[in-house]
Symmetry: C2
Subunit: 224 residues, 2 copies
């Protein structure tokens, strides 16, 4: 194994590439085995460098985790929230979030498992770090737009505004997490189908459920 | 600490109580800190008995985990699926599952976190054990009932039948998991509201979303 010797001070040409590779390696390990189970030594071994090399780029383990959040996880959060202006009709705004969660996960396939393990789980190590990156202004625009549309009679008034984004996460991130984790060993026929599911089928199902629920279109208003 | 000395062979009167207490203790620790992080010694310490006492009732760690699944987790699965006959209208069947997930979680508040950590997560230790307990006959009745109703025009034909139960889990278990884990430290105002949410509000939101989606009742069939 050749060990590159970084110059002090000014990084040489491929330094940025090496740093990116270490970030990718850490992100994948954090997602697949959990942050607490992933040492700096394991990241180094997986990337084929020495632990000293990881410390050269990220000083310590905490800074490595922060860099994964700032330069990987934050891209996911931004891709979801940045297009929200509060001016779109709420249906369009909500379905857009579903589309972006699915398409961004194609580019960041490690995200749903990382989210389940490190944000949703008790003691997840990214929960507070992620919350510090949430664009509260966008969240407020989202909530106000829903509330306005409910008052105007354009959105089902029986829905609880503060739960709508939670419902979108549950409908979208959960099957994405199941598809990823079950791809290698499907356990139920139904799960196998979810695992192999074309993302277009998943998007159509979620969006139609969000728009109309179980109600058949022709009888939607007399179906309760 | 007084150490009860169990008689060999025939258990004495309070044996069953002691065994139940150990099962409860193990279930809570598995839910709050994860199965792999929970040793037999930790269960014993938390219950105020010796590790030998745990081994007396459960032989080994694997048998303790199996007992938690058989005598605790399985009760949850049964409460969800047992009432499914395939004869109910599918809306009623689906909303019944939501109600039972919420009400059973009131009695088993450790369930959502255990599900996130040990079933949904990569490497979760209960995934295969839970799948072995799934009542496949009931699952088949559920799927057939949905497919029949879609053909008859009673259920939104754009929905993917194999994803409907996944959607119900995402809509229901996710906020229950968030409510539990966020109760002690709410991080976002919106999450605080979820955490403190009355279970009746949660049930109404989920059921209305499942029945009608975002569509306001009067315009439900012209809203796309």
């Amino acid at each position: 194994m050749t060990k590159p010797v970084p110059t002090r001070g000014r990084p040489f040409a491929s330094d940025q590439d090496k740093r990116e590779k270490l970030l990718d390696t850490a992100t994948l390990l954090f997602s697949s085995q959990g942050i607490s189970a992933t040492t700096v030594a394991a990241v180094a071994r997986q990337a084929g460098v020495t632990p000293a090399m990881v410390h050269y780029y990220f000083k310590n383990r905490d800074q490595l985790i922060e860099a994964v959040v700032d330069e990987r996880v934050s891209l996911f959060i931004h891709s979801i929230w940045d297009p929200i202006t509060g001016d779109q009709p709420p249906q369009e705004m909500i379905l857009g979030i579903v589309d972006r969660m699915i398409s961004t996960t194609e580019k960041m396939p490690w995200m749903p498992a990382l989210w389940v393990r490190e944000v949703l789980s008790d003691g997840g190590q990214l929960r507070e770090r992620m919350v510090r990156r949430v664009p509260f202004g966008k969240v407020a625009l989202f909530a106000e737009s829903i509330a306005r549309s409910q008052k105007a009679g354009d959105i089902n008034p029986a829905l609880e505004p503060s739960l709508i984004f939670v419902s979108v996460i549950g409908l979208t991130m959960l099957p994405l997490a199941m598809a990823r984790t079950l791809k290698d060993k499907p356990l139920l026929p139904i799960m196998h189908k979810v695992a192999l599911m074309d993302k277009g089928v998943l998007a159509r199902h979620i969006k139609s459920l969000l728009l109309h629920g179980l109600a058949a279109p022709d009888t939607a208003d007399t179906n309760e």
